[in-house]
Amino acid sequence: MNPNLTYVLVVGVLFAAGVTLLLERSLTRVLMGVILLGNGANLLLLTGGRAGGPPIVGTTAGEDMSDPLPQAMVLTAIVITLGMTAFLLALAYRSWHLNGHDEVQDDVEDRRIMELADRDEGPGTADNDSPDGEPPQEPAERPVVVSGDAGRAQ
């Protein structure tokens, strides 16, 4: 099969524009990037099958028919992109509703770990660092007395 240069060009441009938008922080822009990428991916799938007449028996002769398999795949992909668009739009709206903007924020927890790394510190959980820098090699506390009342305990 010979590649169709028009498709190749359109796919490339759709991906380039889609990725550029996808890397933005505004959810609306991200979403538009997703749609452009979706269109590009659908065309990319379509390039895998040859063009021709509509794949409907009786309308087109068998050898003139376009390849129906990529079309079936693309068809569901189109509708799923719709579902995803709706979901991301709802997300953008929710973000705007709660925060007053639709920007994707950095993760707070990750930010905290990065600050630890910048300060050259460990995670600092209670069990891992001792307060005086000396590992408590011997149990610092008094012996475990399960029962303080020895008489009753016997």
């Binding site: 749609i35 028996v57 579902g83 668009t85 953008a92 050259d120 008489g151």
Partner: protein, 940 residues
């Protein structure tokens, strides 16, 4: 043997219930499980004395060749006596040590007896993998028992330390086991022993196995975890960290020793590690003021000695070693239990505070004294017999053995010194310290310790009887010179002299320390510090790594992923892709026109500053793509794409009316350039992939055969539709499920409470106040402020459009259309109604919960598939029905139409959810937000 393990599992399962019912007395009942082990082992004594192992094999996972292969030789028999006997006695002791209202008692009983079961399994496993499983189980149970009091930081820390150290060793050991097992072709030790590798391979395997054994038995440099584990309650220390678990390493060395004693690193590693541990442990014991820690360091020292004796690898040392294992378990468990009693009756175990206890609780002093005598190696105890045997065995050896002997004698002197320190510290009256007040000791509390102490004495007295059994293990080693036999009295031998020397030296050391001439310094090497550095270092690396890779920024993550896309597939394209030499510019020139429109719109969309502009441009790319679909010969795609694009634009308009007109922030120039560069790179790579992929295609497409099959099996002429509902129906099934999830996601993001509530509020005729039945596709009577003409026209058109959608649904099998397209058309009809008349109109047009539509659709689709299955076909197999109905004429009917109906319902449900969520509910939220503002304004 398997039955015994099962008894322990059962006991562990019911222990919490028993404890809840009978309190601490239940522990006596639980003690029956280890007691059963003891009884069984005793019953097998006759067999063991003949040297024949007791074998039991149950097939477990035949595919892996993994059997539950159990095997009890002399060594395992000895361990079973200790595991069962000491276990039962310590549980009996615990029944007095704890109080019935201790909150963790049920858990303690369960874990303790489970540990006894794991230990039992460990010593009788013949299969090394099975042994590893039990080995790690003991580690885990030990972890749980050390952290019996999870509220104390020291407990948690000690438990984690013990877990990390022993698990690390265990993993190394597993690697060693795998090396040995893979070489031998079997994981049963009884078979591996006859089929050992040689040279470097064996050396590496042995070092790995030794890592496990040494870490488990707290040998230098892993010694530090054992004193830390003293955070556990005293019964745990007595059982796990004196008698049973720490002996697992010793047991392993003794088990595989006879086969590998000649191999390169075996003896040096064990002798050196053991001697160092013996000195460091004994020395550290002299410094302790806590009686329990003193015993713990004593245990470390004794474990070192055991490794030396069992690692030496002659018949006589092996005999001495097994006797020593027995003696040590008996006296060390007794001493720990005694410390527990001391602590109970006085409230302390600090030897600086205790004074005159020997006079106040003489019975306890006698019991502890017997055990201490055994520890110091005084006649007529088991300890004496064992130590005599060891000294004698090394005396018979060469020069190297004499060096080891000197070490053993020196270690024995240290043992005597810290034994004296223990006895003096616990029971002696001290000048300047007031006599410690003490409660009287009741006999049930003391009895377990007393029994163990007496057992120690008995082993000494009946040494020849013990000898007759243990010899069958010792004989696995080659004999050097005359065969030694355990006995209390061998006459005035050099060994006796050396024993006396060690005792005298130990007493001297003790007196020196008492007079203040000897101040034991802390050991220069401290495993605990190394451990802390290592753990801290791992934590630091983790933070740095996480901080460097987990930036928490979505663009960063996406950028990394896309960069990989550019570098790897892009690199592959450059490196060696078969670039096609022949290509076509277009199939028809019209494609170039449509393509140019898409290209221009896409670039402009990426540059647009206003949301609405960008949205319209994105829409243009969509319509342009639809045009390309038509030109490609894909009418179904084009139809769906046109519809989806229209719905998308409607959705965008609904949301964008709430968001600001312009994008909030232009990214800074540098990062924007980076984004564009990455975007262009991805575009170029993808275009390259499209070019190469399309040109590489040489095989006949699988879809060539679709045309005939679509007609004959699928009963339809539209191949794309038949593919969706029949040939690849499973795919479609998954995809409509995704749609349901997306619709639910939209609803849950927008509706604050439930989809249902937001709906009910607005449907006229639904609800308790109004009993009129809602009518589907109704034309309501609410024409309000919107354009009257538009609203009227949409009402006129609405039914026609819905009818058209149903036509598309049913004709889709033979002509462009189908469930997806039809659902979109119906959805658009609803959207038009909503846009013209607001949410009241929408609810009038579709007075139904979107969730119900989605559910019904999924139900119908699944039901179609399942019906086919019930009728004996495959899931989603379709049947063609050709009927001749009188008036209507020939009726061609395919069951997959039902599946398409399900798809239709789901798509309509999705769009209804979108309209309700992004449209109606947003309106409502806006109104409620505006309302108070308006009121405030009026007030101002």
């Amino acid at each position: 043997m398997l039955v015994l393990v099962a008894i322990h599992v059962l006991a562990a399962a019911i222990a919490p219930v028993l404890v809840r019912r009978w309190g601490r007395r239940a522990l006596y009942l639980v003690a029956l499980a280890p007691a059963a082990t003891l009884g069984w082992a005793l019953a097998q004594t006759g067999t063991v004395r003949t040297g024949a192992p007791v074998v039991e094999t149950v097939t477990w996972v035949p595919q892996l060749g993994l059997d539950v292969a159990l095997r009890m030789g002399t060594l395992a028999w000895l361990m079973l006596l200790l595991v069962g006997g000491v276990g039962a006695l310590v549980l009996g002791y615990s029944a007095r040590y704890f109080r019935s209202d201790d909150p963790g008692l049920g858990r303690f009983a369960a874990v303790f007896v489970a540990f006894a079961g794991a230990m039992l399994g460990l010593v009788v496993s013949d299969d090394l993998l099975l042994m590893y499983v039990f080995w790690e189980l003991t580690t885990v149970f030990s972890y749980l028992l050390i952290a019996s009091d999870p509220t104390r930081r020291a407990s948690r820390r000690a438990a984690m330390q013990a877990l990390l150290v022993t698990t690390l060793g265990g993993l190394a050991m597993l690697a060693g086991f795998v090396m040995l097992g893979e070489h031998a072709g079997s994981y049963r030790w009884s078979e591996i022993a006859d089929n050992l590798p040689t040279g470097g391979y064996l050396a590496v395997a042995l070092v790995l196995v030794l890592l496990g054994a040494l870490s488990k038995s707290a040998i230098f440099p892993f010694s530090f975890w054992l004193p830390g584990a003293m955070a556990a309650p005293t019964p745990v220390s007595a059982y796990l960290h004196a008698a049973a678990m720490v002996k697992a390493g010793v047991f392993l060395v003794a088990l595989i020793g006879p086969a590998v004693v000649g191999a390169t690193p075996w003896r040096p590693v064990l002798l050196a590690g053991g001697l160092i541990t013996m000195f460091l442990g004994g020395w550290a014991a002299l410094r302790q003021v806590d009686l329990k820690l003193l015993l713990a360091y004593g245990t470390v020292s004794q474990l070192g000695l055991l490794m030396v004796v069992l690692g030496a690898g002659t018949r006589d040392t092996a005999l001495a070693g097994t006797a020593m294992v027995l003696a040590h378990a008996l006296f060390k468990a007794t001493l720990f239990l005694s410390v527990g009693v001391v602590e109970h009756v006085t409230g302390t175990r600090d030897l600086r505070e205790l004074s005159g206890l020997g006079r106040r609780v003489p019975a306890l002093a006698v019991v502890a004294g017997l055990a201490a005598a055994s520890m110091a190696g005084l006649p007529p105890t088991a300890g004496f017999v064992a130590k005599e045997a060891a000294v004698e065995a090394f005396l018979q050896g060469g020069t190297a053995d004499l060096v080891v002997l000197a070490g053993v004698v020196l270690g024995s002197a240290l043992t005597v010194a810290y034994t004296l320190r223990f006895g003096w510290g616990a029971f002696a009256g001290k000048a300047g310290v007031p006599t410690t007040p003490a409660e009287p000791v009741r006999w049930p509390f003391l009895a377990p310790a007393a029994l163990l102490a007496v057992a120690g004495l008995a082993v000494g007295a009946f040494a020849p009887a013990v000898d007759r059994v243990l010899v069958s293990y010792a004989d696995l080693y080659p004999s050097v010179g005359s065969a030694y036999h355990l006995s209390l009295w061998h006459g005035f031998t050099p060994a006796l002299g050396l024993s006396a020397l060690a005792i005298a030296a130990g007493a001297g050391l003790f007196l020196l320390q008492r007079r203040g001439r000897l101040r034991p310094a802390q050991a220069p090497v401290d495993g605990a510090k190394v451990y802390d550095r290592l753990v801290g270092g791992v934590d630091r690396v983790a933070v740095e790594l996480t901080g460097a890779t987990q930036r928490g920024s979505l663009p960063f993550y996406l950028g990394v992923i896309l960069l990989v896309l550019v570098v790897l597939p892009g690199g592959a394209l450059l490196a060696g892709a078969p670039w096609p030499q022949r290509f076509t510019l277009w199939d028809t020139p019209l494609q170039a026109v449509a393509g140019a429109v898409v290209v221009v719109a896409a670039v402009a969309a990426a540059r647009a500053l206003r949301r609405m502009t960008a949205m319209i441009l994105v829409g243009v790319t969509g319509y342009g793509t639809a045009l390309l679909f038509i030109l490609h010969g894909a009418p179904d795609l084009a139809l769906t794409q046109f519809l989806v694009e229209t719905v998308t634009i409607a959705m965008f308009v609904l949301v964008l009316r709430r968001l600001p007109a312009k994008f909030s922030e232009r990214p800074i120039r540098a990062s924007r350039r980076g984004r564009i560069a990455l975007g262009v790179a991805v575009g170029v790579v993808t275009a390259g992939m499209a070019y190469v992929a399309a040109g590489s295609r040489v095989a006949t497409p699988i879809s060539v055969g679709f045309a005939d099959k679509a007609v004959s099996y699928g009963g339809g002429k539209n191949i794309v539709n038949v593919t969706l509902v029949d040939i690849r129906a499973w795919d479609t099934m998954g995809e409509i499920a995704v749609l349901v999830v997306a619709a639910t996601g939209v609803a849950s993001l927008i509706f604050r409470r439930s989809r249902d509530l937001g709906l009910r509020r607005d449907i006229p005729g639904v609800g308790s106040s109004d009993s009129v039945r809602p009518r589907w596709l109704t034309v309501g009577a609410t024409i309000r402020q919107q354009s009257v003409i538009l609203q009227t026209i949409t009402r006129l058109l609405f039914h026609a459009i819905v009818l058209f959608s149903i036509y598309l649904l049913f004709s889709g099998h033979n002509a462009p259309g189908g469930g997806f397209a039809a659902g979109l058309v119906a959805g658009l009809a609803l959207a038009v109604r909503y846009l013209a008349g607001g949410r009241t109109e929408l609810n009038g047009a579709a007075p139904v919960d979107a969730g119900a539509l989605l559910g019904a659709g999924l139900f119908v689709a699944l039901g179609t598939g399942l019906t086919a299955m019930v009728l004996g076909g495959e899931f989603l197999q379709s049947a063609v029905l050709d009927l001749h109905v009188p008036v209507l004429g020939h009726l061609h009917f395919v069951t997959s139409v039902f599946f398409d109906v399900g798809v239709y319902l789901i798509v309509v449900g999705l769009i209804l959810d979108i309209l309700r969520g992004l449209g109606a509910e947003m309106d409502r939220q806006q109104e409620t937000e505006d309302a108070p503002e308006a009121r405030t304004k009026e007030l101002v």
